[in-house]
Each structure stands twice: as structure tokens, then as C-alpha cells.
């Protein structure tokens, strides 16, 4: 099975993979910037969908196919729907919302730009002569399944307990309390 996966030739040439990665990366980055700057709340969530979808394509280019589809399934299919639910249940308006951005925007921009400069310089300098080889596909479902259930069983099981705790916690938190005397439990 694993040798079969190793023999599959990629669709794109190595240079093609780089070019497509760069282009999709630009789109992803642009969508992410719009996500954090737009003042329309639901548009922000939808640009987040574009960002996460772009990242799924990047994972496919890096031959991490299983993770790409998990990304689409969990992030695009569930997490964004939950975020949209949250926005709609907290009365997100159509059009610009006045309380989307706080007053810290200049400071936040400064911090983000400084850390971006720092990280990018560090990363480019550290990896200036490192190439990665994407040709034997490394993230197919069989390979990942074998790795998960051979080497990572304990974290896997611990995560299922964590998910159960999260599920129970979310249910408990979102139960409406019995109407108290001052009506603090009411939504209106």
C-alpha cells in the first residue's frame, strides 16, 4: 500500500507546485487580511471560509491529503457554521457593525507588523537553503491511519475524552437556567 502511494506521480511538476503554492498563498493571505479588517461581521466569517479553503489547497499541494479533507470537513463544514450560528444568535447586523473594531487598532497594527517582520526575517534566514521533497506522497489516508493507530494511540484516546468533556460542557453552558425573579435568565 505504502509503495503504491510512493509510486503515484504528482499532477504538477516541482516548479509548478511552487508556483501554485505561491499563488494560492497570496489568495489565502489576502482573504485572511480581509477577515480581520472588514467591519461586516458575517462577511468576516465568509472570508474565513476562503482562508481555510485556501489552506486546504496548500495541504493538498504538500501531499497531506488526509489533513486537507479533515480541514474542509471540520473547519469549513462545522467550525465556520458554528461561528455563523454565534454571529446570528448575537444579532449580527447586515452591513457594517459599529462595534467590530476596538480602539487598539494602531497598537495592534504595530505589534503585528513588528512580529511579522521578526518572524519572516528569522524564518527566511534559517531556512534559506532548505528544500522539501513532495514526491513520495506522505499524507494519504493509509499512511496517516497507520501512524495514528500505531504511534499516537494514547493522545488519540485522550483527545476523545477531551471532546466528550467539551460536548458536555457546551451543553451545560447553553442550557437556559430556570427563570429567576429578576428575569436575568431571559434573552430579550
Amino acid at each position: 500500500m505504502i509503495t503504491l502511494a510512493a509510486e503515484t506521480r504528482g499532477f504538477l511538476s516541482p516548479a509548478g507546485v511552487e508556483i501554485v503554492f505561491l499563488l494560492v498563498g497570496l489568495v489565502t493571505l489576502g482573504a485572511a487580511v480581509v477577515t480581520v479588517t472588514t467591519r461586516q461581521l458575517v462577511h468576516s466569517a465568509l472570508w474565513l471560509v476562503a482562508t481555510l479553503g485556501g489552506l486546504a489547497v496548500e495541504y493538498l499541494l504538500l501531499t497531506a491529503e488526509f489533513i486537507a479533507w479533515v480541514q474542509v470537513l471540520i473547519y469549513v463544514g462545522s467550525v465556520v457554521v458554528l461561528l455563523l450560528f454565534g454571529l446570528m444568535l448575537t444579532r449580527a447586523p447586515i452591513g457594517r457593525s459599529p462595534d467590530a473594531d476596538s480602539g487598539n487598532r494602531p497598537v495592534a497594527l504595530g505589534v503585528a507588523v513588528v512580529s511579522a517582520g521578526l518572524l519572516v526575517t528569522l524564518v527566511v534566514d534559517a531556512f534559506r537553503s532548505t528544500w522539501i521533497d513532495v514526491s513520495p506522497a506522505r499524507g494519504t489516508t493509509d499512511i496517516m491511519g497507520a501512524a495514528l493507530f500505531r504511534h499516537w494511540v494514547l493522545p488519540f484516546e485522550a483527545l476523545s475524552v477531551l471532546l466528550l468533556a467539551a460536548l458536555v460542557g457546551a451543553i451545560v453552558l447553553s442550557r437556559r437556567t430556570a427563570p429567576s425573579a429578576d428575569g436575568a435568565g431571559e434573552d430579550r
Binding site: S78, T90, W152
Partner: protein, 118 residues
């Protein structure tokens, strides 16, 4: 592929998410920015896994675990935001400054009875 491409993209996405966490006021938008940061980390992990080609597939497995934990976090985070919205009427993080509900104010309609009793 040069490793700088995914690494730089991940670093830039992380900083965009950082800006979002600091600059946004609506709690759900802050959660979205945290998701951006987690995704940047995932991209880094996957890129390093493809680079190092270790037998444990540590990068991709940890990516799966991060995705799972992020999904659990969003679930709980949204439940908290909704509970706060119900109790305080707002999901602005700037306006959530109380650690407890204020003490109950005496009901004005009951004052005449108290004055009559006093």
C-alpha cells in the same frame, strides 16, 4: 519546494491572526482570529513533517490533534459567548469588565412599604 514558502506563509498568517485578536472588539471575531493563528501553526507543522519525513509522522498527527482541540475550543467558546450575551446583552470584549454580577438593587416599588414599616 523551498521550505521558506510554507514557513513564511505560516508566519504571516499568524501575525494577521495576532492583529485580529488585538484589534477586534466582538468576541466572535476574536475567536475567528484565534482560529487563524491555529491554522498558521498547522501549516507549519505539515510543512515540517514533509521536510523531515520522520517515521512517526509527528507533524501531521499533531496537526490533526490541533484541529480537534480547535474544534472543541470553538464549541465551548461559542457557548460561553452566547451565555455572556444572554446575561450582559453584549458580546463586546471591551465592555466585559465585571468579574461578578452587581449586587441586587432594592426594588423601587417596595420602598413605600419599607418606609411604612420603618
Amino acid at each position: 519546494m523551498h521550505l521558506a514558502y510554507p514557513a513564511v506563509l505560516a508566519a504571516l498568517l499568524f501575525c494577521v491572526g495576532l492583529y485580529g485578536v488585538l484589534a477586534r472588539r466582538n468576541a466572535i471575531l476574536v475567536l475567528m482570529s484565534v482560529e487563524l493563528m491555529l491554522n498558521a501553526v498547522n501549516l507549519n507543522l505539515v510543512a515540517f513533517d514533509v521536510w523531515l519525513r520522520d517515521t512517526l509522522h509527528a507533524g501531521q498527527s499533531l496537526t490533526l490533534f490541533v484541529i480537534t482541540v480547535a474544534a472543541a475550543e470553538i464549541g465551548i467558546g461559542l457557548a460561553i459567548v452566547l451565555a455572556v450575551y444572554r446575561a450582559r446583552g453584549t458580546s463586546d470584549v471591551d465592555r466585559l469588565r465585571d468579574l461578578a454580577e452587581p449586587p441586587a438593587v432594592p426594588d423601587p416599588a417596595q420602598l413605600p412599604a419599607e418606609e411604612a414599616a420603618a
